[in-house]
Symmetry: C2
C-alpha cells in the first residue's frame, strides 16, 4: 500500500504526565530504561529502544513562553512499547516481577501477538506488545 502522506518513520516520542517526577524517574530506572534528559520539576526523558518515553509534569509544560509549544494532560494515558518476540515478552514479565510491578492484564490477539499491561505509579497504562501484532 502506497502511503498517501510524505515519508514518516513512526512514533518517535510518546508522553506520559505524572504528579511526581522523581517517583516516576525511580520507577523507569528500576525497569532499566536509560535516563537521557532531565529538567528538574519539568521532565525526565527516557530512551525506550529506538525511541523516547517523555515523562512530564503538566503544571510545568502547560506554562506558555518556552521555545516548545505548551501541552499537558491529566488522567491516565496509554503508551505501547514493542518487544521483538515472545521470548522478550517473557523476559519483561520476569523483569516486572523482580521490580514488584503487577501485571494488570494480558491479552492474546487474533494475529498471534500478545500484550502485557502494567501501570506506572501515576496510573498511566503501559503496554508491552510483540512486534508484528498489527501485521506490519
Amino acid at each position: 500500500m502506497a502511503d498517501l502522506h510524505p515519508p514518516l518513520g513512526g512514533v518517535h516520542e510518546a508522553s506520559l504526565y505524572v504528579s511526581d517526577l522523581e517517583r516516576a524517574e525511580r520507577f523507569w530506572r528500576r525497569l532499566g530504561l536509560p535516563l537521557i534528559g532531565r529538567s528538574r520539576g519539568r521532565h525526565a526523558f527516557f530512551r525506550a529502544g529506538a525511541d523516547l518515553l517523555l515523562i512530564f509534569n503538566p503544571q510545568a509544560t502547560l506554562a506558555v513562553g518556552g521555545e516548545v509549544p505548551p501541552h499537558g494532560a491529566t488522567g491516565p494515558g496509554h503508551v505501547a512499547l514493542d518487544v521483538p518476540d515472545m521470548t522478550a515478552l517473557e523476559r519483561w514479565r520476569a523483569c516486572l516481577g523482580q521490580a514488584d510491578v503487577p501485571i494488570e492484564a494480558e491479552v492474546g490477539w487474533p494475529s498471534g501477538g500478545r500484550s502485557l499491561y502494567f501501570r506506572d505509579p501515576d496510573g498511566n497504562s503501559i503496554e508491552l506488545i510483540t512486534r508484528g501484532t498489527w501485521g506490519f
Copy 2:
C-alpha cells in the same frame, strides 16, 4: 551502551484523546494517514509509518470492564512522529499548508535536527522531528 532491560523495539503506539472522534478522523485522513481500525464512539486508530497513532474518546476508554485496562486523559497531549530527513520535513510542511493546518512553532536543535509543531483540532501538540536528532 548495553541496555539494562530486556529487548525493546521502541514506542509502537501513542495515544491522543479527543472530544470529537469524527472530527479527529477527518483531520488525520486529510493528512493522509491510513485509518486501520475504528470503533464508533470509542476510537480511531491510524497507521503512522511503522507504528500507530491511537485516537480515543476518554469517556469511552475510562469505562471499566473491557479486555483492555481503562485509560483516558484530558488536556493537550504531545506526540512526536519522526521523518527520515529534511527533505521529508519540507514535504510535510507543504502537506500541512495544503491541509490548512498552521505550523505553531519550529525548532532547530543543537544536533542539527529540526522539528515542526502543529495542533490537532482538540489542541493536542503534534511534532514532526527529523530522525537522528537525539543521536540514535
